[in-house]
Symmetry: C2
Subunit: 200 residues, 2 copies
DNA sequence: TTATCCATGTAATCGGTTACATGATTGT
DNA sequence: ACAATCATGTAACCGATTACATGGATAA
């Protein structure tokens, strides 16, 4: 059949507890933003489908000063479906990165602006890295990594988090290197005259 | 307006020369696979639209023992459009990684199978890394990185390539670490009995 | 007073994948 | 004999984003 990976990202998140559609979208940002993302609209739709298929179930919580909630949790069927998917064959994922397209196509005139875009990415990645490191400290709770990997009931979330941390670190290092290279080259081009064929 | 990034990935690739739709899809695999990918069908469609809008133009080459080709190249308008887009504001790209979802959701019973999936990723990444390193050696052509960054008419492709190399290296290192962790933990769980609550 | 948060959804559209179709040529 | 390569497309579908809609509660 098809991909439908959002479905399994939702089921995986529901391993950690009960959530409303609204909360799931925010939970994605908190714990799973490393490798998945979805808007509430999409999640509501997927939850509806999965409820019809019996993979999740909802209990309604009536609130006074707030809109009512529907809190979803996994059913046994949902757990089984997730378990089967985990080890099912999957095809390579393709990276798409708009900034690298821009970089690839950039000419002399745009080097400094590109350096700024690279800086902006670095800032965003730094913020993410800090959040991941806080999460790491929280889940380790004083234990060493080795201890944690022996004791924790599920080590997957930690392994995935570590992937995110490494990725952000590496991205930040590349950003610094690339921004430098862009500025050095832009300075050199400026020194030697704006027009390519107008040498001294 | 909209994203339409495929459009700009195509225009960026056409900076390097003329291509048929078929060749563009393969060129994506060769030089741009680091940060973009598309199937021929999609490229044909995009080329058609861009031709109508005057961003690219085609000359037809009649062949005997092969189907005829339409070879596309950039127009001045296409170059301008690309130039404008390069420094236009763009929003953060979201990573989606199915393998990490699987990992996140994995229970004790699946650890060894997950380790195999991680190994499989490592193999694929190693193959990509080797291809990128060959490309790197080819574009450097004996020069040092520093020399190249001063001399090359466009440094963007090298900066983007370097991002790919770092990414693959880092991914491979993580794969090795994660596969180890999975196998160590799986061995420990096996030693202490398959049933969680069946301790000695 | 304006904006943001909670909480839910519908509708339109777009971007990407899969399936289907053609047909000669070259390699295993 | 069979598969892959070259070369082009169409049609159906699915997944994801954007826009729109509601409406009270709290924070700036």
């Amino acid at each position: 059949m098809n991909r439908m990976s959002l479905r399994f990202a939702v089921l995986a998140t529901l391993l950690d507890g009960e959530f409303t559609g609204y909360d799931l979208a925010r939970q994605f940002d908190a714990s799973v933003s490393n490798f998945w993302h979805a808007l509430p609209q999409q999640i509501y739709g997927e939850l509806k489908k999965m409820e019809e298929e019996g993979l999740v179930e909802a209990r309604t919580v009536i609130q006074e000063s707030r809109p009512n909630k529907r809190i979803f949790s996994l059913t046994t069927l949902g757990r089984e479906e997730l378990g089967r998917w985990i080890t099912a064959p999957g095809r390579p994922s393709s990276n798409k990165d708009e900034l690298l397209v821009r970089l690839y196509a950039a000419g002399t005139a745009q080097l400094l602006l590109l350096a700024d875009l690279v800086d902006a990415r670095k800032k965003r990645r730094l913020a993410k890295l800090e959040r991941y490191q806080q999460t790491r400290a929280r889940v380790l709770a004083g234990r060493s990594e080795e201890e944690y990997l022996c004791q924790a009931p599920r080590i997957g979330p930690y392994l995935a988090l570590q992937r995110g941390i490494r990725f952000e670190e590496d991205t930040i290092a590349w950003c610094e290197w690339a921004a430098d290279a862009l500025r050095i080259r832009a300075a050199k081009d400026a020194r030697e005259g704006a027009l390519p064929a107008a040498g001294a």
